[in-house]
């Protein structure tokens, strides 16, 4: 059964030509989907629509069969920038989603410690965000998105500003965490190799529409060596051709 379903979603900014034009897409439970495309093709808008941050002009978005009209409590969202609250310690940043609803319990703190440990930051839990590097801040943002154990996670180019090695580490961390909680993921990136490495299924976007879809059949869990195998490169090339093809 489909978990998240986008049904002919159209979105336009006041009267201009649509930025999202009749997009349909389905994510099943536990699947990791990547959305790739050039800058300005509407990736972020589509993600915000799917998360309920924006309302479509036409069509509908259904989460477990229910129409999405506002952000559901069972989703997590990671923004392009880490968007941590500078005046809260790392641990309180991770617990923010919970502390907005109720006072965090001892179990919540344990879960937060657990998550921080998994992203390798347990030593930093009492630091302030300004004391962390960019990669560490992104890790905190991911831990924060996972603290409510969301069934569905949206990520908007969360690693775009990081160096290659840190990015690869975080990709592995993310995959491991999502497998652990059986989280469904919609991940935006403009990095083809990142998409192929992470995704079960890739959607290529251009001019507000999904123009190409590709299932990635690589063994799981992914490992570093796979990045240098011919099969991996072949898939990257396929995606790249799909992206190029749209220019003509």
């Amino acid at each position: 059964m489909s978990f998240l379903r986008l049904d002919r979603v159209t979105y336009r900014y006041q009267g201009s030509k649509p930025v999202i034009d009749g997009v349909s897409w389905t994510i099943n439970e536990g699947e990791f989907h990547c959305l790739v495309g050039k800058s300005g093709c509407g990736k972020t808008t589509l993600l915000k629509l799917a998360a309920g941050l924006l309302q479509p002009d036409e069509g509908g978005i259904y989460l477990q069969g229910e129409k999405v009209t506002k952000p559901s409590p069972s989703i997590g969202y990671v923004f392009q920038a880490p968007t941590l609250l500078e005046w809260k310690r790392v641990i309180d940043n991770v617990l923010l989603p919970i502390s907005l609803k109720r006072k965090p319990t001892k179990e919540d703190y344990e879960l937060a410690h657990d998550l921080l440990e998994r992203v390798g930051l347990s030593a930093y839990r009492n630091h302030y965000p300004a004391q962390l590097s960019g990669g560490q801040q992104s890790r905190v943002a991911i831990a924060r998105a996972l603290i409510q154990q969301p069934a569905l996670l949206f990520l908007d180019e969360p690693f775009a500003a990081l160096d290659a090695i840190t990015r690869e580490e975080l990709q592995d961390d993310l995959l491991a965490l999502c497998r652990l909680q059986n989280t469904s993921v919609l991940f935006i990136t403009h990095d083809i190799a990142e998409a192929v490495y992470l995704a079960d299924r890739i959607a290529v976007m251009a001019d507000g529409d999904i123009v190409y879809a590709l299932d990635v059949h690589l063994p799981k869990p992914r490992a570093l060596e796979m990045r240098y195998e011919p099969r991996f490169n072949e898939l990257c090339f396929q995606v790249r051709q799909a992206m190029e093809g749209m220019r003509r």
Binding site: Y77, T83, L96, L100, Y128, A130
Partner: protein
């Protein structure tokens, strides 16, 4: 003590020496020497002559400051949060910014009498605007990404205000408060200039009448001290509340 603060102290000594030398050439009525001023100041404090005036002016400043900045903060939050209020009142706020508030002092004395009330109100009025303006700006220009984060987390409007907009705007609000503190002393003193029998401002006017320049200088020193103490108090709180998370080097 580091090198710059040594130089800074040396500069003070140099300035005092220069003052002392210059004062020797002039009548005490024009420029009293620092030694004479210090003696007057010490005498006045020891005899208890200054105390009621210091207390009076400090009280006016503190009451006016808390009233004015408290109201400025509350109105600023309301105007920052509620768009129609902001659109309705902002032209008036801009217009009232242009009114020289101190020019209203005689009017307030007419309305509220020669007692403390008129000075507190003048001070409050002066402190109101820097707080109002900085709070409105701080609330209005909260980081859009963080606002979206709070929407995703399903935060209510109140929670967004308390947990995001106010803490994020705190450095800005404090900047306004620092301006207000300095202005508060000005407000109280000018109020006392125009009509008061007690307070440091009234003492300046009295010393002018008595042609007692050393007394005037010692009152000026007291006022400077009052302003500096208040500023340092604000600075202390700012350090406690705002700085810890800004940069690790600021600790």
């Amino acid at each position: 003590m580091n090198r710059t603060s040594v130089y800074s102290l040396a500069l003070l000594v140099l300035l005092l020496l220069g003052w002392e030398l210059a004062a020797r050439q002039m009548s005490e009525l024009v420029l009293p020497a620092p030694s004479v001023v210090a003696a007057t100041l010490f005498e006045g404090i020891k005899s208890g002559y200054f105390w009621p005036h210091i207390v009076r002016t400090s009280l006016e400043v503190l009451l006016g400051l808390s009233l004015g900045s408290g109201l400025g903060l509350i109105v600023g939050i309301l105007m920052g949060e509620i768009e129609c209020l902001r659109k309705l009142f902002f032209p008036y706020v801009v217009a009232s910014q242009a009114v020289p508030k101190l020019a209203l002092a005689p009017l307030f004395i007419l309305w509220f009498g020669f007692g403390m009330t008129s000075k507190v109100i003048i001070t409050a009025l002066i402190c109101f605007f820097p707080l109002l303006e900085n709070t409105v700006t701080a609330i209005q220009y909260t980081d859009r990404n963080k606002l979206e984060l709070f929407r995703v987390l399903g935060a209510t409007r109140w929670q967004t205000l308390i947990h995001l907009k106010l803490p994020a705007g705190l450095p800005n609000i404090f900047a306004g408060f620092r301006v207000a503190v300095v202005l508060a002393v000005v407000g109280a003193v000018v109020g006392e200039f125009i009509g008061a029998s007690e307070g440091l401002g009234a003492m300046i006017i009295a010393s002018q009448g008595m042609m007692d320049t050393p007394l005037m200088f010692s009152v000026l020193l007291l006022l400077t001290l009052l302003g500096m103490v208040l500023y340092q108090i604000v600075h202390f709180f700012e350090n406690r509340l705002v700085k810890p998370y800004k940069k690790e080097t600021d600790k």
